[in-house]
Symmetry: C2
Subunit: 222 residues, 2 copies
């Protein structure tokens, strides 16, 4: 985190790391260049020297964190592509939840803030990074939902699953903030048992998917 000894590329790395943590904690507009440089042990001028502007640092920090996160948590959860669809669904849900819960990789805490308070990044990033992941999930869902599933039902199920995983991002406090931690009991439970929640989301969603499939095949309007 702090500059260890030598300089140059080191400073840039430190700035990126500090920026990641601070942007994840306080969002873009509430984080100041001085905060970042102070945490990185760098001079105020360093940001504009290495990145050109606060916004470009923001973009670069996010992108780096996002790719690190994807590398650490492969989206398929390590389940091979020829495994049964149920297992692949399980893998993807596990990967998503643990990715979101990973406090070492604040990429998705930044993404969460981007969703709530979009900067110019949102569109670009969504299309480029998150879109493909959603499409892979949709393919798994199409298998589970059967051949005649309307596209809208696929999207609804994708939204149901993704949003349950996103739930992890709320109340994931980063270190340093002086929150008295009197959050409601329900979020406490989830925070304390992320693996349990991941398991729940899989079972809950699998039942939901099967219900959607049978209601389609039984032609129960919809």
């Amino acid at each position: 985190m702090w500059k260890t000894g030598r300089n140059s590329q080191n400073t840039k790395e430190c700035l990126l790391e500090a920026a990641c943590h601070l942007f994840a904690e306080k969002g873009f507009s509430a984080t100041t260049n001085r905060d970042i440089c102070s945490r990185a042990g760098a001079n105020i001028a360093a940001i504009n020297y290495h990145f050109g502007s606060k916004e470009k640092l923001y973009a670069e920090a996010w992108r780096k964190a996002f790719h690190n996160s994807l590398e650490k948590h492969p989206p398929d959860g390590g389940v091979p592509p020829d495994a049964p669809a149920e297992e692949r669904l399980h893998g993807r849900i596990q990967a998503m939840i643990h990715k979101f819960a990973d406090k070492e990789n604040p990429a998705f805490q930044i993404a969460h803030k981007e969703m709530a308070v979009p900067t110019s990044l949102l569109k670009e990033v969504k299309v480029e990074c998150i879109g493909p992941l959603q499409e892979e999930m949709n393919n798994v869902l199409r298998e589970l939902l059967g051949p005649e599933v309307p596209e809208q039902q696929v999207h609804f199920c994708q939204a149901s699953i993704e949003s349950q995983c996103f739930r992890i991002l709320r109340h994931t406090r980063t270190s340093g903030s002086i929150q008295p931690e009197t959050v409601s009991a329900s979020s406490k439970d989830i925070e304390d048992d992320i693996a349990g929640y991941a398991d729940h989301v899989f079972r809950f969603s699998l039942a939901g998917i099967k219900a959607v499939r049978s209601s389609i095949e039984n032609d129960t309007d919809y």
Copy 2:
């Protein structure tokens, strides 16, 4: 929105309304007093005169919008408390989703931003306003999940349902922003058919709840 003719209490109302819209659109720290006063057609000093500070205006605007929203969308969805639990679940999901989707009442867009970038308000507001609603939902879920359901399973199911409803808040763009609206197809579907999504969330979740219940009763570990 603009002062029509006479002043006094009118200004205060206009400030609250303008603050609601701007805080919902850009969040607390990215919204300036000048923005608010300009939109409300008031003088810069008006905020500190009527509310004391930007933060107090924020709190008051949110509280007003929240209560308006609850009044417009009763949390039980109009389903009487002696109706079957399934119907009450349906009512609550409907109410939640339409409440979140209501662009006239930006209270929950502000809440969404509060979750992502908490100010000092979050704790107070959660405990005071959202907590009771969650507990009412938990009571419905306990009925549906059976008498021997562990408390954690109730919270997990509550989180699953609430988070699916929260999904509505993402991509709910407020007017004025110059977004090219090239959001991904899935969110487009949801935005275009909120009633359909609400129906989906109910069926999807009901199946999930039943699965959790049977896995408890069949003692399939968990």
